[in-house]
Structures are given as C-alpha cells and as structure tokens.
C-alpha cells in the first residue's frame, strides 16, 4: 500500500513552506437575526498545509462547524481574510476544489448507491463510462462493492456514511471537509470507520479538515489538532500531533497517545469548555 500521505508530508518538510491549502487570518463571523448578534468566530488565524489532517475540536458553539462552512463557502466571513488554494472560498467552490461530508449521509433516496456516488461527476460533466468506473472504484475503496445497486435506505447508518465519503472522494478533490461524519454512529462502528478513514487518507494524500466532538477520534486521526472554545468562537491552541503517521487502533492505549489526549483536554479546560 502506497503511503502517499507519508511521502507527501515528507516532501512538504523537504521543500519548505508550500502554498497553504487553507489560510485564515483574523477571520470573524457574526450572525445577525431576530434582534440577536451571535459572534460565531472571533479573529481566527489558521494555516493548513497540503497533506495535513487537521481536526477542529471544541464544545458546542465554539464555531468549528462555522469555520468549516466558511471554508466551503456555505457561510461568508464578516471580516478577515480567508483563502482556499490561494483563492477566495467562492472561487474555490466554483472550481470544485473540495469534497464535503455532512453529519448526515444526505444520500438521495431515489438513486441507487452507485448513482449517488456518481452525482457530483454527473454535475461536473464527466462522461458516463468514466463516471461508472470511478464510482465503482471508490465504492470498492470504502468496502461497499456488493452494495452497488442497493438503495440508501437498505443500508445501515454506517454504510450510508461510507457511501457519502466515497461520493466526496469520487471527483478526487485535493481537500476534504468533514463535519462530524461519524457522530450519529455507535462506538464500535465509529472505531472501524476511523481506521478506514485513516487508511484512505494515507493512500490518497488528501488534505482533510475534520470537525469532531471526540478527543480520542481527533488524536487518532490528525496530524494537527485545533482546540476551540465558545463565546466567542476562537482558537485556544493548535497542537502538533507527533504520533507516527502509520496508526492502528491499538495505538490508543499507548502512553504517547494518552499524553496528546491530555494536552487536548487541558487546552479545552483552558478554554472553559467544561464550565
């Protein structure tokens, strides 16, 4: 198995500072409506390099989902500078630079599994034969080859979410944005999918921004962990995860893992997340 991620990260270190995939400087976002002003993000500074797996973690209301949506051009910052691949998020979106995975699978029930994965390819005008080949390839990658012609409601929650990931990867974006994709699943399924996602990342060398509530999930998956806190939404600390790039589930009991988890917890406490 090619460790594309490992190679990519090493190449980054060797080549020196490369153009950031995501560059945020002083990004603020204020929601106005119904007489209320909610500061979802206050002065966020963040740089994400190619090949990074960055987790955004924090309590409810800390702005992690808002930040993700701002990168995706689903929300617009009120102030500050936000660049994706050196362009505005709007331009990046129009160039289809990223894949988005939501908290719910959001599959279309009138389409079979394979046609769901082909949806973005259809919209982007990829010819039929290639669409089918690519969809089949990514369904295979997420381990759902036997379910190609089933319908979403015939699959379990975890399987549906895997289809959603295959769909996000189908047009091979360099950037993957994931909003608590495994939040609705039970712990055992979650562990399996975490491992799966980790291996996928290593094979495809995609840059991933991953929003989560779970400390162990963040530590297991990421190369960097961004701890945020609420009221107003801001970054408390960015923790570099020095664990080896090649990981399996057994890693989670090692002292090194627990040390990183402890740092994350302390950062959360510092941000008053437990108050």
């Amino acid at each position: 198995m090619t460790d594309a991620a490992l190679l990519s990260l090493e190449a980054n270190k060797a080549a020196g500072p490369a153009p950031a995939v995501v560059a945020a400087r002083g990004v603020s976002l204020v929601f106005e409506g119904g007489g209320h002003r909610v500061t979802a993000l206050a002065g966020v500074d963040l740089t994400i390099a190619a090949g990074d797996f960055v987790s955004l973690i924090g309590p409810s209301g800390c702005g992690k989902t808002t930040l993700l949506r701002a990168i995706a051009d689903l929300e617009r910052p009120s102030s500050g500078e936000l660049l994706v691949n050196g362009m505005t998020p709007s331009e990046a979106r129009k160039r289809r630079s990223y894949g988005y995975v939501f908290q719910a699978p959001a599959l279309y029930p009138w389409r079979s599994v394979v046609r769901n994965v082909m949806l973005p390819l259809e919209i982007m005008g990829v010819p039929r034969a290639e669409r089918l080949a690519r969809a089949r390839h990514y369904l295979d990658l997420v381990g759902l080859r036997e379910f190609t012609h089933k319908f979403p409601w015939q699959l379990s929650g975890g399987m549906q979410q895997r289809v959603s990931i295959a769909r996000a990867l189908a047009f091979e974006p360099k950037l993957l944005l994931m909003d608590e994709p495994f939040g609705a699943l039970d712990e055992i399924t979650r562990d399996r999918l975490n491992l799966h996602l980790h291996e996928l990342w290593r094979r495809t060398a995609t840059t991933v921004v991953f929003v989560t509530h779970s400390i162990s999930e963040a530590v297991f998956l990421s190369t960097r962990i961004v701890v945020m806190s609420a009221r107003p939404g801001r970054i408390v600390e960015i923790i570099d995860n020095d664990l080896p790039v090649s990981r399996d589930l057994g890693l989670r009991e090692t002292p090194a893992f627990l040390a990183v988890a402890r740092r994350v917890r302390e950062a959360l406490r510092a941000g008053h997340s437990y108050d």
Binding site: R96, G99, A106, Y108, P109, W110
Partner: protein
C-alpha cells in the same frame, strides 16, 4: 391459510344465488330459508377473513361485503316490490347497461375523454409551470399561495355557467371548469413539494457549484414528486366531478352529467344508475392507475417502504 372462511363464502354465494332464483319462482318459504343461510354464511366468511392475514383475506372481506350489499339490494327491492322510480334493482341496472351501451360510450367520450382529459392535462400542467415560475420569487409565493389555498376551498363548480357563456355549450366550457378546479391544488402542492429538499442536500449541491437548473432537475423535482402525486390523485377526482357537475348547468344533448340530470327528471333511474356506475368506474380506475404510477416512480418514499 385457513380454509374455513373460503368454504363459508362459497356456501354463502351459492345460497344467495339460490335465494334469488327461488324468489323469481315465487317460493317464499324456500327463499327465506336460503336467504338466511346466505346471510349467516357470508357473515361467518367476513369475520373469518377479517381475522386472517395475507393479501387474499384483506381483499376478500370488502369484496364479500360489497357483494352482500348488492345482493341485499336486489332481494329487498324485488321482494318488497319497491317502485322502479324509487330504486331499481341491480339486475335492471345491468340490463340498462347492456341496452344502452352505445349511448353510455358516447357520454363517456364526451365527458371523460374530452372534457376531463383536456382539462386535467391543461390544469395540472399550468399549475406545475406556474409553480416553477414563482419558485424563485418568495414575494410571489407569499402572495399567490394563500389565494390558491382559499380558492381551492371555494365551490369552483359555480363558474360553470360563466364558462358556458365564454366557451359555448359544448365540452370546452366543461374542460375550462376542470382547468380552474385542478390548477390550484397542483400549484399549492408543487410549491410545497419544491420546499421538501433538505437543507443538507441543498448545501451539498452548493458545494458542487451546481446551477439552479441542475439543482432543480437532480434534487428538488425528484424530492417534490410525492407532493405532486398527491395533487395528481386529488385532481383526478376533482376533474371528474367538475366535468359532470358542470354539465348540470346545461350542455348539448351528450355527456354523463347531462344524461344523469335529464334521465333522472324522466324517471329512467336504471339508466341514471348505469351512468353513475360508469362514472364511478372511471373515477376509481383513474385514481388506481395514478396510485400505481406513484408506487412505481416514488418507490423510495418512506410511505411505501412499509415502515409502519
């Protein structure tokens, strides 16, 4: 499957036929005996089927009930010599059906094939297109939808005399009534359906930088289909009612509504019932066909997945 209800049903049907035959042979005592056996057996059959499961049992109960009613109708009307001008027996209606087949067919063509089909297609089509047209304007939606709901609740059939004045006595004026009756339910339901697409699914389309048209075609219209079918089914009933009732207001010498109102005045109740039967069949078959189409096309909707 338990056999008992089936045997009771067979016994009941045989006894019922026997009773009818005995009645026309004037054997009162035997008739009564056979009738009692028939009623008892058919009731046992119904109760038995009602307790059973499976598609056959589910179908059998209402069918037996319907047959029982028809038979009772026949027996009581003939047995008590109810005047023909009050209530003709089913056998007389069947005879009228056979005798006037050509006439009934012509009426059917005039009312259903012309007025209903044309009006339905135009009304539903217009409602759908207008819903698409106002889709991008919340202002127009807020203005038109309350009115649409209001008008759907009014006795629209009343515009029939005005349509006659504008479009003449023949079927176009009836079609016009149908158009007005079917337009608003289609408009309201299509708009409601277009709002069904979830926020997440719509956001997904945005991340693909999909155009308005692509989002409409690939997401919002398929998601709207359940609501659209609700309107299509409702409109099939409304269209038939509209066309028939519009003919009560005046029509050339043809049409189901015309036939019903004039033959009722002439006391030819058997022909009236025959026409009503044609109308009932047309209505239920149209609805059934649409329901079948709905099942084929929106097979994915939770209501068809037997989740309850």
């Amino acid at each position: 499957m338990k056999r008992a209800p089936l045997y009771w049903a067979t016994l009941g049907l045989i006894a019922a036929t026997l009773a009818r035959w005995l009645m026309s042979a004037d054997k009162i005592g035997a008739t009564l005996a056979a009738a009692l056996i028939a009623v008892f057996a058919l009731f046992r059959a119904m109760v038995g089927f009602a307790r059973a499961e499976g598609w056959f049992a589910r179908l059998a109960t209402p069918v037996i009930f319907g047959l029982l009613l028809l038979w009772l109708w026949e027996m009581l009307v003939i047995g008590f010599a109810v005047p023909f001008v009050l209530l003709p027996p089913p056998s007389a209606i069947a005879r009228a059906f056979a005798n006037h087949l050509a006439l009934l067919a012509q009426d059917f063509a005039q009312t259903y094939l012309h007025a209903v089909i044309a009006g339905y297609a135009l009304g539903c089509g217009a409602g759908f297109l207008v819903a698409l047209a106002i889709d991008r304007s919340p202002f127009l939606k807020h203005g038109l939808l309350p009115m649409g709901n209001m008008i759907s609740a009014m006795p629209i059939v009343g515009i029939a005399p005005i349509m006659v004045m504008w479009f003449g006595f023949d079927w176009p004026s009836k079609a016009a009534v149908v158009v007005v009756m079917t337009f608003f339910p289609m408009l309201v339901n299509t708009t409601a359906g277009l709002a069904e697409a979830g926020t997440i699914e719509t956001d997904l389309m945005r991340t693909y930088a999909a155009s308005y048209g692509t989002t409409l075609l690939k997401l919002r219209l398929p998601a709207a289909l359940p609501h659209i079918f609700t309107a299509l089914k409702l409109n099939s009933t409304l269209a038939l009612i509209g066309a028939v009732v519009a003919e009560f207001f005046g029509t050339p010498i043809l049409g189901m509504g015309f036939r019903i109102s004039t033959e009722a005045a002439k006391m030819n109740l058997d022909l009236v019932w025959a026409t009503i039967t044609v109308a009932a069949l047309a209505g239920s078959l149209s609805f059934g066909a649409l329901a079948l189409l709905e099942r084929l096309i929106t097979f994915w909707h939770p209501s068809f997945r037997g989740s309850s």
